[in-house]
């Protein structure tokens, strides 16, 4: 549950941004990483950026974390009903 994954920040509007994770666009809140800018590699956990890393490190860290996330996903069938709030309450 404490797994965080690196993703590239591509858009930023105030504190709210969009990060590119394997081609998926992921909403991300950047308030915990002040000064984050599009083009930065961020470590993302539960919709929040919790740290920054450089690109080479991000790529190295990426492979194993992505695999681990896939393994955990496969074991936990229940995914978020929606990444945003469209679903009925």
């Amino acid at each position: 549950m404490c797994l965080a994954v690196p993703a590239l920040l591509v858009e930023l509007n105030g504190e709210e941004g969009l990060a590119d994770l394997h081609g998926n666009r992921l909403p991300v809140n950047t308030q915990l990483v002040p000064g984050a800018r599009p083009g930065d590699w961020l470590l993302i956990h539960a919709g929040f950026a919790i740290g920054r890393l450089d690109e080479e490190e991000a790529r190295e860290t990426f492979a194993v974390l992505a695999e681990l996330q896939a393994a955990q996903r496969a074991a936990a069938p229940e995914q978020a009903d929606s990444a945003r709030q469209e679903a009925p309450p």
Binding site: A4, N29, E60
Partner: protein
């Protein structure tokens, strides 16, 4: 950086050299992601015989007390409540079933990806009371703090949290204290410290463990060679009697951690005593809402009181997460308790120790043949 295979071999050689002729060493990892990572690559099977890697209380789902699960189920059943939770929690069985079962009975239970999604849901549906199930260690708690602040800024009166956020270091401390005190307590020779919790709390957070309990601590990444390297480093430190904190994941972990996140935590939460599954009450081990934020406490808003804590009969989860038992010591393992029909949280959570054993290591328990289950993947 060297190619990983090379580093695996080199790290294993270092580990073997450091432990040669020495006493038996037991190291504990306290991170669910380390548990998954270790089992996935078969790490326990390549360790030298006298090195033991124990999976400690590192999975937030697994350490959540039964009474907290019961409280979530009760809140979900209240009139007008929509309960938002991370997906990991939804199948954990409480005394009156899991959140998933509550949903089957008509409760509104909504799985969210981020605490902010719960806030957005509250804003979009002012006729519902949105309760967010706040679970997790320091990696996750800042998101809850941010959500609570956002709810206040937006003037929401229909958003609350049922909070069971926990702090990892007091739990590690409690394990060391108990290990030292009790005859049957566990001797821990050092910790593999969690990678992403450390991003928030920083490497220095482990200094008291090294200083006051002489426990070496090595912060590790999640590549197999990184974990083996951390174990090798721990073995070297333990053999030479040096209790130090070493950061082997400096790509993302700094000495002081994420200051912005710490500030946010401090604004909204304060440490308090709380109950952990299997470990009981541990002082200073919870993040509870400060009085200034009590209006966002679901327990206060709905007058909920935690029921008596009672863990499922025969389930050894408590002992498993304290390192005192292996999943295969549990009479239910692989029989009435499987990932499809979990009895305890260590089997529910994808990063629980029992789930990891079931998935990756069941051959180590040949005396307990597994039932054939559709969809189960031993």
């Amino acid at each position: 950086m060297n190619p990983p295979e090379h580093d695996v071999r080199k790290s294993l050689e270092r580990l073997a050299a450091a432990t040669k002729g020495g006493r038996e060493l037991a190291f504990m990892e306290v991170c669910g992601t380390h548990t998954t990572a270790a089992f996935r690559c078969g790490l326990p099977s390549v360790l030298p015989r006298h090195v033991k890697l124990i999976s400690g209380p590192g999975c937030p789902v697994c350490v959540t007390a039964q009474q907290d699960i019961d409280l979530l189920v009760e809140a979900a059943g209240r009139q007008g409540v929509t309960l938002c939770t991370y997906g990991d929690m939804i199948r954990v069985p409480g005394r009156r079933g899991s959140l998933q079962e509550a949903r089957g009975r008509g409760a509104r239970v909504h799985v969210v990806y981020s605490a902010m999604d719960a806030v957005a849901l509250a804003q979009a549906h002012v006729d519902r009371q949105v309760v967010f199930a706040a679970v997790g260690f320091e990696t996750t708690a800042p998101a809850t703090a941010a959500a609570v602040q956002a709810a206040r800024r937006r003037g929401l009166t229909n958003f609350t949290v049922l909070n069971s956020h926990k702090r990892i270091v007091p739990a590690m401390q409690a394990l060391l204290e108990r290990g030292a005190k009790m005859k049957d307590g566990l001797g821990i020779d050092g910790f593999v410290c969690p990678g992403h919790v450390s991003v928030i709390i920083g490497a220095r957070a482990y200094l008291p463990l090294a200083r006051d309990y002489a426990a070496p601590c090595v912060i590790s990444g999640f590549e197999p060679w990184q974990m083996i390297s951390a174990l090798a480093r721990l073995a070297e430190l333990a053999q030479s009697g040096r209790a130090e904190v070493i950061n082997e994941y400096p790509e993302v972990v700094s000495p002081d951690g994420n200051r912005a996140a710490q500030k946010l935590l401090d604004e909204v939460f304060q440490p308090a005593e709380t109950r952990w599954r299997g470990l009981g009450l541990i002082a200073q081990s919870a993040w509870v809402l400060r009085p200034a934020w009590r209006e966002f406490d679901a327990q206060v808003r709905f007058g909920l009181t935690p029921p008596e804590d009672c863990e499922p009969k025969a389930c050894l989860c408590g002992k498993v997460i304290s390192g005192l038992a292996l999943p295969t010591d549990c009479s239910l393992f692989g029989r009435s308790c499987t990932p499809l029909q979990p009895v305890g949280p260590c089997m529910v959570s994808s990063e629980g120790t029992c789930a990891a054993w079931f998935k990756y290591s069941w051959r180590q328990a040949p005396h307990r043949p597994l039932p054939i289950l559709a969809g189960a993947s031993p």
